[in-house]
């Protein structure tokens, strides 16, 4: 359960977050949708305490991200905006590193790592150094790092960029599977079809503020548009930054 309450953050004269409020329920996939520069990444970064908001608060399972970031991070899995890999380590070592940072040891750690590798279907690349990996392969490693500790809440920043059809399907099935387990999934995107197909709930944000927060169908009905894309365009009032 992720609750964002009146977050404000400004960089010099740019107001990145301007009183942002929404919540993401357990057992649901919540999409954070917005044009480029809407503040999606800034919002997600403040969720895991990497950015300190000027005012407002984000809480995850009742813990404040600003006051107790370490505790919050134990309960979330993160797929960040930028993810880089250590080229000299194998995916297995990457995943084990994160598992260890989450307090997994010995056999428990190895089991968790192995399970993640199987879930993501990446056994064929698990023991190769990541140097020269394709974008899709890198994505998988990053995803594996996000879910190895079985977090209650999953925060994904544009998870599907650069993925091929097969990888996208794996990602989608993974997200559905995690939803079945009652986890809270929050992901940002600017790809319409993806959001429409995946999300139980969509939070549309523009210029650091929420302009709509409902199910995709409800948003279509609200704007009286047939397609979700048209609904989105009408809601944000411009067609800037959309990738159909």
């Amino acid at each position: 359960m992720i609750i964002v309450n009146d977050l404000k953050k400004s960089y010099n004269d740019v107001q990145a977050l301007n009183g942002l409020s929404f919540h993401a329920e357990n057992g649901q996939i919540t999409g954070l949708l917005g044009p480029n520069g809407a503040g999606k990444t800034t919002c997600l970064r403040s969720l895991y305490g990497l950015i300190k908001p000027d005012s407002g608060e984000a809480t995850i399972d009742g813990t404040s991200a600003t006051d107790d970031p370490l505790n919050v991070r134990r309960h979330i899995g993160i797929f960040p905006d930028k993810f880089g890999l250590y080229e000299r380590l194998t995916p297995r070592e990457h995943i084990a590193y994160i598992a260890e940072l989450h307090g997994f040891k010995g056999a428990t750690r190895d089991e968790a790592v192995e399970k993640t590798i199987q879930d993501l279907g990446m056994a064929d690349i698990a023991d190769r150094r990541t140097q020269g990996f394709s974008q899709g392969q890198r994505m998988k490693v990053a995803l594996a790092q996000a879910i190895v500790h079985q977090p209650k809440n999953l925060i994904l920043d544009e998870p599907s960029r650069g993925l091929d059809v097969m990888s996208t399907r794996i990602l989608r099935e993974l997200m559905f599977g995690l939803r079945e387990q009652g986890r809270c999934i929050l992901f940002s995107s600017h790809v319409m079809q993806e959001v429409a197909a995946l999300c139980d709930r969509v939070v549309i944000m523009v210029k650091g503020q929420v302009v709509a927060d409902d199910t995709p169908q409800a948003l279509c009905e609200l704007t009286q548009q047939a397609s979700f894309e048209d609904a989105f365009v009408q809601l944000i009032g411009t067609d800037e930054g959309i990738m159909a």
């Binding site: 895991y48 990497l50 505790n71 880089g84 250590y86 380590l89 590193y97 940072l101 989450h102 990053a142």
Partner: protein
């Protein structure tokens, strides 16, 4: 694995060991530093100790056989080599008759006096002639019933206080500068790679979003770099006695051998310095915007401790406080362990503590730096 920083430490070590460039950088310095030094010393020793015979072309050697044999005893040999290159001595025809009548004899020593490399040879020839002159003059005075001492009003007596060890310090002090420097250089690449490199490959944001405190993260990274720094220093320390077996230092009266225990103690003394150097390098790397920039800045920053050590080494400046300050304290400990002076345990301990405190402050500084979004995202 109780502590989070150990997880980071081990991971960074694994990563760095697989990075051949870092490994080569660390080890090549340790390897080639002592080698270069040995070559330099080899040249120095042969230059300083060469008592090779001076070959002199002597015209009219037959007129003064005693003089020639005297010169021979002093290592000045008559040769028929190329005249242009050597010193030419001309003994006049009337040598014997002037000697007998106690008249001054002009022996001509002809050479290119502007040529620097031959100056010691010319001096030796002239000194030998002066000695011969004195021997003859003393004999004459004694024959006339006068003590030769009347000719010597004041005598400068040279008392060399240099011991084997103090001479060793002079030479090996430079060696110790190399050892200290190896600490700063061996871990440098690892320090840059785990900080500026981590940010450049975009993995820093994710790492900072993990449930590990910034201090633990920084500590792990600093320890990894420091491990390499210590390894480099140890390698240098091992290399030094090995390399110096090829340099005839004993000709200078220098004893370059130090025991395994001394080496181990030196390595221990250097551990705080390694931590200090590594955290300093991390701080500078995080201040820089990119990997390249970090390399440039670090090179500049490394000049500071190097300059301090070099200045101390060559000016022989001493002040009681130096025994307790970071880097200078370790420098003095290394020096006195060579010269066989007693090492004050207090100074070693206080030096280690001040160094560790400074390293700790730097570690906190790096952690604080990572709170800034500017440093994390490289804005």
């Amino acid at each position: 694995m109780k502590y989070p920083f150990m997880i980071v430490w081990l991971k960074e070590l694994k990563d760095a060991i697989r990075d051949r460039r870092s490994l080569m950088a660390a080890m090549s310095y340790a390897f080639f530093g002592p080698m270069i030094m040995a070559v330099a010393f080899f040249a120095l020793v042969t230059e300083a100790t060469s008592e090779r015979d001076v070959s002199v072309t002597i015209h009219g050697a037959d007129y003064a056989p005693e003089l020639v044999s005297f010169l021979n005893q002093r290592g000045i040999v008559k040769s028929d080599e190329d005249e242009a290159r050597s010193i030419v001595m001309t003994i006049p025809e009337d040598y014997q008759s002037r000697l007998e009548s106690a008249q001054s004899i002009r022996v001509i020593v002809r050479a290119d006096y502007s040529e620097r490399s031959g100056s010691s040879q010319r001096q030796r020839v002239e000194r030998a002639l002066t000695e011969y002159n004195q021997a003859v003059a003393s004999a004459r005075l004694m024959m006339r019933g006068i003590s030769p001492e009347v000719m010597q009003a004041v005598i400068a007596e040279r008392q060399d206080t240099a011991t084997r060890e103090s001479r060793a310090v002079l030479i090996l002090g430079t060696v110790m500068v190399f050892v200290l420097m190896s600490v700063f250089f061996a871990g440098m690449n690892v320090a840059i790679d785990t900080s500026a490199g981590e940010r450049e490959r975009n993995s820093l944001e994710f790492l900072l979003s993990q449930p590990i405190s910034r201090v633990a993260l920084v500590a792990g990274k600093g320890f990894a770099a420091a491990t390499f720094a210590v390894l480099g220093a140890v390698l240098t320390l091992i290399m030094i006695p090995f390399v110096f077996t090829f340099v005839p230092l004993e000709k200078l009266g220098v004893d370059a051998s130090f025991s395994m225990w001394t080496q181990a103690a030196m390595a221990l003394v250097l551990i705080p310095v390694a931590l200090l150097a590594s955290f300093l390098q991390l701080l500078v790397s995080f201040m820089a915007k990119s990997f390249k920039e970090a390399q440039t800045y670090i090179t500049f920053v490394m000049f500071v401790p190097m300059t301090v050590v070099f200045v101390l080494e060559f000016t022989r400046y001493s002040h009681p406080a130096l025994a307790y300050l970071p880097i200078t304290s370790q420098h003095q400990v290394l020096l006195s362990s060579l010269s066989g002076e007693t090492i004050s345990v207090l100074a070693v301990a206080v030096g280690a503590v001040t160094t560790l405190v400074l390293a700790g402050l730097l570690m906190l500084g790096v952690s604080y730096k990572l709170r800034s979004e500017k440093a994390v995202f490289g804005l």
